[in-house]
């Protein structure tokens, strides 16, 4: 491939007009664990597989879904440590916004800033792009919102989206199942069913993670017990 000659430097375009490092970053994302998000009429749900490398790992210590602010949560597909760096930077930016305006940062603004950070790392010397795509879910004065941010720094607003290993099957499933007037509980059920589609092994509250935000504007991660309840409803 002529492109491979240009894959050494992030900041050099290949003749086909691509930045090959970003393509590789997207591949890293595509081989990460499946995660998805669904925007309901009264809230947003994000979910991910939580496959741990061994049964000896203490699953209560691992949390893939994190808060950026009290009303904005995030899940990733790809390299976990990279997502932690982004979450840390975004949290700081959200607090800086609050210090300046004494107002909670709108979801679009936080997504924009996070995307700007990711873009910076595609145009600077000596750094590599982030190997994660983020799904950012939030609820503010403009209602429930779901955004996906890619390693290139581009972001999109979605009604429902998936990323990671099983992305094409998951997206097809979501396209069929999604309705505009879905409520949050239906969305959680749909999210679980979508994860179940590509899940290898027995799905339970201990190997998936779900985060929801409703009209109360408080993002929270469901406990394994709550997930098991939803799973029972889905059966």
């Amino acid at each position: 491939m002529g492109d491979s000659q240009y894959s050494f430097s992030l900041t050099t375009f290949s003749p086909s007009g691509k930045l090959v490092q970003i393509e590789h970053a997207l591949t890293a994302v595509g081989s990460g664990q499946t995660s998805l998000g669904i925007k309901a009429s009264n809230g947003v749900v994000i979910a991910t597989e939580k496959k741990l490398p061994s049964i000896l790992v203490d699953e209560t210590s691992v949390q893939k879904i994190q808060l950026m602010t009290t009303n904005i949560g995030v899940v990733y597909s790809g390299m976990g440590p990279d997502s932690r760096v982004l979450v840390r930077k975004s949290r700081k930016q959200a607090q800086q916004y609050f210090r300046l305006y004494k107002e909670a940062i709108p979801v679009t603004q936080l997504v924009r800033e996070t995307a700007a950070v990711m873009q910076e790392f595609t145009q600077s010397g000596g750094v590599r792009p982030f190997g994660v795509s983020l799904l950012i879910a939030g609820y503010d004065d403009n209602g429930p919102q779901l955004y996906q941010v890619d390693p290139s720094g581009s972001y999109f607003s979605w009604k429902a989206s998936a990323m990671g290993k099983n992305v094409s099957n998951a997206k097809t499933f979501l396209e069929k199942r999604y309705t505009e007037d879905m409520e949050l509980d239906d969305a959680v059920h749909t999210a679980i069913l979508t994860l179940k589609e590509g899940f290898q092994g027995q799905i339970s509250g201990k190997n998936i993670e779900i985060g929801i935000i409703g009209a109360d504007r408080k993002f929270r991660v469901l406990t394994p017990a709550e997930i098991d309840d939803y799973l029972a409803e889905v059966e």
Binding site: R99, L100, Y101, K102, E103, P106, T108, Q109, R112
Partner: protein, 204 residues
Amino acid sequence: MSIFEYNGSAVVAMVGKNCFAIASDRRLGVNLQTIATDFQRIFKIHDKLYIGLSGLATDVQTLYQRLVFRHKLYQLREERDMKPQTFASLVSAVLYEKRFGPYFCMPVIAGLGEDDVPFICTMDCIGAKELAKDFVVSGTASESLYGACESMYKPNMEPEELFETISQALLSSVDRDCLSGWGGHVLLVTPTEVQERTLKSRMD
């Protein structure tokens, strides 16, 4: 002689029923000499938000330019106008940035917030906010203004009565202050319209 008294100024804002009024004097002086009688101290940030700046005239102008710059960027990024409370927090932050070399300005912020609820506040030159429900004053005539407003103010005044009250409070206070006066400028803002009027007063 204080730097705040170099140019002379008087600014006052009052809350009425679903409206607010903001007024200032028009004198620009250099110590005891008057050099202009049409100096603008009240500036529009957006249709429902005004800021009056008293103090050193050069800082009044520069600070206004900086704040408008910040607000325009905010409007472009967030695709909405700033709420008065948010703007007040911004002004406070901008002033505190210069904590050890401040702008010699005391802002008076007045606006209609969500659901057109009137909002007024003032702050000192390094950003200490003071929210009030009735009136706020600033400038070389501030002590007289406090007295005049305290005695003339009534809550829930209709726009016409509010206009009368704020004009009388302003004129009687600046008459007691040699550094401010030479006319008055009053803006009365309701959810549907803005009335701007110039007051004729003792030209001394």
